[in-house]
Symmetry: none
């Protein structure tokens, strides 16, 4: 996971975990790796990883069991909730960009439809 320099690293770690949950790579209830592992792998300070984990907990995605570690919420709707959230933000952004280029939401939808259709043929 390469970092971009324009956003706090801890938020990039948060986003990355959210995406992995949304993709189903991290199932509800799964234990997140210890603070040290990702810190070594990402070459960041363990405090930065802790900051990320605290943010996840603040959002209700994780909980900690003292002495055991940090776990993903066991809420069966967790994945769905995250997917909705990510999808919402991406769609918002797409419609905003298209709006700035003069496309109505309906036109933005049609443009995407066209594109997906073409890509399918290409495959």
């Amino acid at each position: 996971m390469p970092f971009d320099l324009t956003r706090p690293i801890y938020l990039q770690i948060v986003d990355n975990i959210c995406r992995r949950v949304a993709r189903g790579e991290l199932p509800p209830g799964a234990r997140l790796p210890s603070l040290r592992d990702p810190a070594l792998e990402l070459e960041v300070n363990p405090n930065t990883v802790q900051h990320a984990y605290q943010e996840l907990e603040r959002r209700g995605l994780t909980f900690t069991r003292r002495g055991e570690g940090t776990f993903l919420s066991e809420d069966p709707q967790l994945v769905d909730r995250l997917r909705q959230e990510l999808a919402g933000r991406a769609a918002e952004r797409y419609l905003a960009e298209m709006g700035e280029a003069g496309f109505s939401p309906a036109e933005a939808l049609a443009a995407l439809q066209e594109r997906v259709k073409i890509a399918e043929r290409g495959v």
Copy 2:
């Protein structure tokens, strides 16, 4: 036009002009303001505006007449070409973001469809 700090100012000026052309605010053949006007307004150096205008020319969107100014191409397909380009880039990005969250292109399309439908009702 507020600048974001993460991208070159001259490219943000380029994008802004592209969007205005796509929206039909700047018709083909229109004269762009002189280098000095936007420089004063945006509080950037005239060289930065020139850099933006040269990039537009490099992309074939404008031409310059020494002593007269910088003009949008008179190509009647200019607007369409730009709209296609901007739409393409926005869609690409949307599909990429959605892909990272585990959505197939078809799902990404459906999610947008849903969202637009809801927004329409909301209006």
Copy 3:
């Protein structure tokens, strides 16, 4: 490389590099000197050298690798293409000058032929 005062310095740098490529002194793929070197040697601003290098890139003769340098295109036809271009421009100019003095292209050719023949004998 002495500069003449009637043409932009950056274009004289461009021409000089083109001629060296045409002569085979700079092989395809070769790395051009950094912006700073020729600037010191030619006593011009690094920005002027950069302007020249950007013009070369615009013409498709070079490409840049951020942090590594500016390189001549690896297209094996680069040399030939440049030789054709330079020869074309020189011939155009010769025929134009001769035309102003009342020589038809055929006569201009004959005059050159004569001159080259004499020079060969002289050698």
Copy 4:
């Protein structure tokens, strides 16, 4: 006749007259226009025209009859001599430019030959 700003105007007038003689537009013995006419037409000072005429005389191309005007030499070889001179200078320059691009005189000749042949077909 538009002037270029990089050479003395009087020499540009000299060259222009030489070319017209070489083209046969001004026959040997012809009277050149008075100082005032070209001065008005070219929007230069009559002194500049006089300077040009003096240069022509210095080169042996003209002579003046007091009270009558300036006349082209009546030497029947005048035209030929000028044509030779202009052709020589143009050829010299062509071979020099081609030499800088790595062409031998023989190659420069061949390149011109090719070009003239193509132009003839094109006509």
